[in-house]
């Protein structure tokens, strides 16, 4: 990869980041920023910078989660939103709210994580048993599975009068991110580092179980580590931001078109494009109906849905 491409990539991210910091209902006075007592500096530190960081962490985290998922189930259309991970995380969230109330956030996260791991593992084991020939069946069954789980979630929400709470986090929105309420997203950093260290193993597992065993790997352990990382990344985003559909599906696929599936090589780019895509969609959502905001999940749904259909049409195994 040439140095120019890296420089160009870095400047695109910087420009988007700067735009994200400067766009908002209240205009930032750049000169006043130097004075740490001003309201501009306060807005920047409490709202705009946390929002930017949350976008980058969630975008990179969910994209990496999708990449891992695709490799461990050997299917291009697998991602946290098409394998039940997100729906199980939401189920865990509502169970945590009902059982504990809104008290200990670490405990809440732990419960969400537990549900996400268990739900994803169930689906992955199911896939390993069935070995589908047709690639599109995997997301199809995954989405159906997710719908069943989310029906349970809705049931509990009705029963305990939490429907409004539920609808507020099924729609992802970065507007509510403030300093002090988004820091769980930093879990994406250690999770991504671990994913990078495990990259060669995930890639070997993506070729097949006997292929992975041949080079001395414990295939089931690699899958388990992958499921845990996917669950950590997806749970923290679901808890703090909400559901961002399609992101984990489309970013790894688009990156793979250009630099292939070798995870050690494409993981940094997957993280990068996840950040850029979410940043761009978030900026777009803030500008379309200014001064109101369109939630990012709507913008990304439209874009992601189109890309998803394109990927299915392109997939040679259906032809």
């Amino acid at each position: 990869m040439s140095i120019y491409i890296r420089l160009a990539a870095a400047s695109v991210l910087l420009v988007l980041a700067l735009a994200s910091l400067l766009i908002g209902v209240i205009d930032l006075d750049i000169a006043a920023l130097l004075n740490s007592e001003s309201s501009s500096a306060h807005i920047l530190l409490v709202s705009r910078i946390p929002r930017l960081l949350a976008i980058c962490l969630a975008g990179a985290g969910l994209s990496i989660a999708g990449l891992i998922m695709q490799q461990i189930v050997q299917n291009r259309f697998a991602a946290p939103s098409t394998t039940g991970t997100i729906d199980c995380a939401m189920f865990g969230y509502i169970v945590a709210l009902v059982a504990l109330g809104d008290v200990d956030h670490w405990l809440q996260l732990l419960i969400i994580f537990g549900f996400a791991v268990a739900g994803t593992l169930l689906f992955v084991r199911f896939l390993q048993k069935l070995q589908f020939k047709n690639a599109v069946l995997v997301p199809l069954i995954g989405i159906m599975y997710g719908n069943v789980v989310s029906a349970l979630t809705t049931f509990i929400a009705y029963k305990y009068d939490l429907v409004q709470t539920l609808s507020s986090w099924t729609v992802a929105n970065f507007a509510s991110v403030l300093k002090g309420n988004y820091e769980f997203l930093y879990l994406a950093v250690p999770a991504s580092v671990l994913a990078y260290l495990y990259a060669a193993r995930f890639s070997a597992a993506s070729v097949g179980e006997s292929f992975a065993k041949n080079i001395g790997l414990n295939y089931q352990r690699v899958v388990m580590v992958g499921v845990m990382l996917v669950a950590v990344l997806a749970s923290s985003v679901v808890m703090i931001v909400g559901v961002i559909p399609f992101l984990g599906l489309i970013v790894p696929n688009l990156v793979s078109l250009f630099i292939g599936d070798n995870m050690r090589r494409n993981l940094p780019w997957t993280a990068y494009w996840g950040m850029v895509l979410v940043l761009a969609c978030d900026i777009g959502g803030r500008l379309i109906l200014f001064p109101f905001e369109v939630p990012i999940s709507m913008i990304i749904s439209i874009f992601g849905g189109l890309v998803f259909i394109g990927l299915i049409l392109k997939d040679k195994s259906n032809a």
């Binding site: 890639s203 097949g208 006997s210 292939g260 070798n262």
Partner: protein, 252 residues
């Protein structure tokens, strides 16, 4: 040397492999032949630790299979099956590099890269090193997978139907390459193969199976025999020598 003794595998009370014994010595190319459902692939999977056996024992270099550590064994024994996901976009070079994983754990040294280059040269695929697997023909892809096994640089190599769906040119090239591994590099190579004339022309030893049992095993001339093959495949065989090479005729 790998020694199989009394290996059996059952699926729902049906024996897929029953009481099979075999020897795979170093420097020798051994073919496993037999009709569909004879248990060839299952035997190969059990010998290469991909499938557990229900009875019997596999001894690899004087050590029973269950005492081997999986990661250590990957440096001594390589196995390639047909069930690989070929939709993943790896370049040929990236695929071959997986063969070095048991030795380098993913961090390729200069020596690893040298071995990867040599393996690709051995199969004559250097010119497609940077192409993605999904852009290749079936023959080229198979060559890449075999180059990966070569890069793994193990004493024992098991290949399950390496000629499946390949044209004649690629079949000849692959058989030549693996014969070279056995004879010139002293490796024990075991292939499951359907084409009886490829088995007759390239192998040193042949194991003939039918309905889960080893019917005959020995030097190629002992097994490529009209009576033996007619019994195994249940059709009449005529065998002729062409330029010192036994050729089976079973077409009518």
């Amino acid at each position: 040397m790998i020694k199989l003794s009394g290996l059996s595998k059952k699926y729902n009370d049906n024996f897929v492999v029953k009481d099979a014994s075999a020897l795979f010595p170093k420097g020798v190319l051994t073919s496993i032949i037999g009709p569909n459902g004879a248990g060839k692939s299952t035997l190969l999977s059990m010998a290469s630790r991909l499938t557990n056996s229900d009875a019997g024992e596999v001894v690899i270099a004087d050590k029973p299979l269950n005492q081997w550590d999986n990661a250590a064994l990957a440096k001594r024994l390589a196995v390639l099956r047909q069930s690989n996901n070929i939709n993943m976009r790896f370049t040929v070079r990236e695929l071959v590099a997986f063969g070095r994983f048991p030795h380098s754990q993913g961090r390729l040294s200069a020596r690893d890269n040298e071995i990867i280059d040599k393996a690709m040269e051995h199969l004559d695929i250097q010119h497609i090193a940077d192409r993605y697997l999904d852009q290749l023909s079936g023959g080229q892809r198979q060559m890449a997978f075999i180059a990966m096994v070569v890069a793994q640089d193990t004493d024992y190599i098991f290949l399950d139907e390496p000629l499946n769906n390949l044209d004649i040119k690629h079949s000849v090239e692959i058989m030549g390459a693996i014969q070279h591994l056995a004879h010139d590099h002293g490796k024990a190579v075991v292939v499951v193969i359907h084409d009886i004339n490829f088995a007759a022309s390239y192998s040193d030893r042949i194991i003939a199976m039918k309905r889960g049992q080893v019917i005959k095993s020995g030097d190629t001339v002992e097994v490529i025999d009209e009576a033996v093959l007619s019994d195994i495949y249940e059709i009449p065989f005529t065998i002729r020598e062409v330029e010192g090479q036994r050729i089976c005729m079973y077409y009518r």
